[in-house]
């Protein structure tokens, strides 16, 4: 007896239906994403390599410490020396764009989940699905809806990278101690004040862990997204594979690793405050300046991180 459930056909039909009936909506999404992605890329690319390097070194010095700032300097010089500067900036721009959009969408979803058990129950399995589907699967509908290029690559990256920040925002807010919440209420907080003055700041270390994970996933996805034309370091790796050029593939891979370490350390530092006591005096100088410059793509990240700055000093 033959027994077939045609899920694949159903999904294809759904994709066709969306393409035929919601093209305007898709175009709107594409326009917004393209705008953010181009803006970020231009903001990074307009700087000469030594300026962006200097900014990253200062950021490393301020957030992590002098040893790490030396690593940053060496890593950036390596990228320039390998002739992969353009690709690296491109990938960085894509990662920052995808992360920015994932946070703008994901953090409110996480907050909503933390306040509503039913919503949590509904969203959980969707997050599970988003995290466990092989990343390549996202490329197909993304390419079908948005064609080839930066936009579908960014969208596939957003979908793949969003779950951690949603999960950890939800978790972080739920883990805020009952007495802190009670203290907020007992002193007359409104719902919004409770969220903005108690729950969000206290959940921030956990939320930042989510942001960090989202950035890491975005970086790994951006490489895969080069298969539908997202460009950047992924392209270098892909070309290396296609030509069986081990050296080229390795160089591209090294660029990705360098970016990963930089982004990881710097974003992690926002989760538990600065450790560079020696340079803490720089904080006051760069507290306003570098946040505006260094984080051109992730405005909200800098804003969220600010309450954590004073924590350890």
């Amino acid at each position: 007896m033959e027994f077939n459930i045609e899920i694949g056909d159903g999904v294809s039909a759904a994709v066709d239906y969306i393409r035929n009936n919601f093209q305007d909506g898709l175009d709107g999404i594409a326009t917004v994403i393209e705008w953010v992605a181009d803006g970020t890329f231009i903001a990074l690319d307009i700087m000469p390599w030594w300026l962006l390097t200097a900014l990253l070194v200062v950021l490393s010095l301020w957030r992590v410490g002098w040893k790490f700032s030396l690593f940053t300097l060496g890593a950036m010089l390596l990228v320039v020396g390998m002739g992969l500067w353009e690709e690296t900036v491109n990938t960085l721009a894509l990662v920052l764009t995808a992360t920015f959009i994932a946070l703008v969408v994901g953090i409110p979803i996480g907050i909503a989940m933390s306040r509503n058990d039913t919503l949590e129950t509904l969203v959980r399995p969707i997050l599970d699905l988003m995290q466990t589907l092989p990343p390549f699967v996202y490329l197909i509908p993304a390419a079908m809806f948005f064609g080839l290029g930066k936009v579908p690559g960014t969208i596939a990256t957003i979908v793949f990278a969003m779950p951690p920040v949603v999960r950890l925002t939800n978790l972080g807010i739920r883990q805020v101690s009952e007495e802190n919440v009670e203290a907020g209420l007992a002193f007359g907080c409104t719902d919004w004040q409770l969220l903005s003055k108690v729950q969000f700041p206290l959940a921030l270390p956990t939320i930042m862990a989510g942001v960090n994970q989202t950035i890491m996933l975005a970086l790994s996805m951006v490489v895969i997204a080069s298969m539908i034309g997202a460009g950047g370091l992924g392209n270098t790796v892909l070309t290396g594979i296609q030509r069986l050029d081990v050296g080229l593939g390795f160089e591209g891979g090294l660029g990705v690793v360098v970016l990963a370490i930089l982004l990881d350390r710097i974003t992690q530092s926002f989760g538990h405050g600065a450790t560079g006591g020696l340079f803490s005096f720089l904080k006051s100088v760069f507290a306003t300046g570098s946040r505006a410059e260094g984080h051109s793509g992730t405005r909200d990240e800098a804003k969220e991180a600010s309450p954590a700055h004073g924590r350890n000093g």
Partner: protein, 358 residues
């Protein structure tokens, strides 16, 4: 009662000075968690116990039929073992927990019927709370923490910082305003918690096991601090505790809760001299009664004082009595505040009192 308050009487200061005004009135308050509250209420009426009701309906009766009145300026201590419903009770006073049945009135206003906005106003203006685990905001400085209530109610920065600093100075932490809570010891953290509660100058303070997390020495120090603050400026305080020593030191009246019910509400010496049941008695089995009783409490009118023995005033501690009686030839005479002879204390009577407290 400060002179400034007398010269410039405001409505609130006037209210505070009416010593006998009922500040908090709780009438037949119940809190039933889960299950079917109406069914649980009916079963309570039939005289079933908490355990029976939980088995039959799945509802947990946390507080049942609580009624009491706290006068303005009174320190009212609610005592009980963990699970007796005392924390639930204090949270019903500012509606962090809504009573299932019954009413709670603050300053004559029924807060159980209040809408959200009125409730938020009440919490900002009329009452504040101190928590067992301090519940400070780790991302804010001590000053910002102390100003929390004022920030929430929308005071401007200069005003709230001035008031918060004043409150911090009142608890001896003016120097630490710029520190973060993680840099403070437990006792200092709770001083910040206290300053935060005092900063918006509320007539009512709710203190939920406020000193229980502190080590004994610091705990006594904080109790003294509270007593001193009360002397300077009387507030209505509802204090939750499981420590009878503490209750005796700071309480004007003590209410003892057992299984969600008040079993005795009385003055500290009445609680010790006339405990309502064994549960109440169990609280002071290990308590040093000699610290609670004064000379006046154990003076026996039927005993003749010895010749030439030093007079003792009725509010002298038993330690003082001991030093006099042990060196005297006969029983020591005890005189009340009005100069009337209350009786005398013999060596035997004193020994018996000390013996009872062991």
């Amino acid at each position: 009662m400060s002179d400034a308050a007398l010269q410039q009487p405001s409505a609130r200061d006037d209210a505070r000075q009416e010593a006998d005004e009922d500040r908090i009135v709780v009438e037949n308050a119940y809190k039933i968690f889960g299950g079917n509250p109406d069914e649980a209420y009916r079963l309570l009426g039939e005289g079933k116990t908490k355990d029976q009701i939980f088995r039959e309906t799945g509802a947990t009766v946390a507080v049942q039929d609580a009624s009491f009145t706290v006068k303005s300026g009174e320190v009212f201590v609610i005592m009980g073992l963990s699970g007796s419903g005392k924390s639930t009770m204090v949270r019903m006073l500012n509606r962090l927990i809504d009573p299932t049945f019954g009413t709670v009135s603050i300053n004559g206003q029924n807060i159980t019927a209040m809408n959200r906005k009125a409730l938020i106003d009440l919490r900002r203006r009329d009452m504040s709370m101190v928590f067992q685990s301090f519940a400070l905001m780790p991302h804010q400085t001590v000053l910002e923490n102390a100003a929390f209530g004022l920030t929430v109610s929308g005071r401007d920065k200069a005003d709230r910082e001035a008031r918060a600093l004043e409150a911090l100075e009142a608890v001896g932490l003016g120097q630490n305003a710029r520190s973060y809570p993680s840099e403070l010891s437990g006792g200092m953290k709770q001083r910040v918690g206290l300053a935060r509660a005092l900063a918006n100058d509320p007539p009512v303070l709710l203190m939920d096991e406020a000193f229980s997390a502190l080590d004994p020495l610091i705990r006594t120090e904080m109790q003294d601090e509270l007593i001193r603050l009360q002397r300077e400026h009387r507030r209505t305080i509802v204090f939750i505790s499981h420590d009878l020593d503490e209750a005796m030191r700071i309480g004007d009246r003590i209410a003892i809760m057992q299984d969600g019910r008040f079993v005795q509400i009385d003055t500290p010496d009445k609680i010790v001299s006339e405990p309502a049941n064994d549960y109440v008695r169990s609280f002071f089995r290990n308590v040093d009664v000699t610290q609670v009783f004064k000379a006046g409490d154990i003076a026996d009118p039927g005993v003749q004082p010895g010749d030439g023995v030093t007079e003792i005033s009725a509010d002298a501690s038993l330690d003082e009595v001991l030093s006099i009686v042990s060196n005297a030839d006969g029983p020591a005479p005890v005189t009340g505040e009005d100069g009337k002879r209350l009786g005398a204390i013999s060596k035997t009577a004193l020994l018996k009192t000390f013996d009872k407290s062991r």
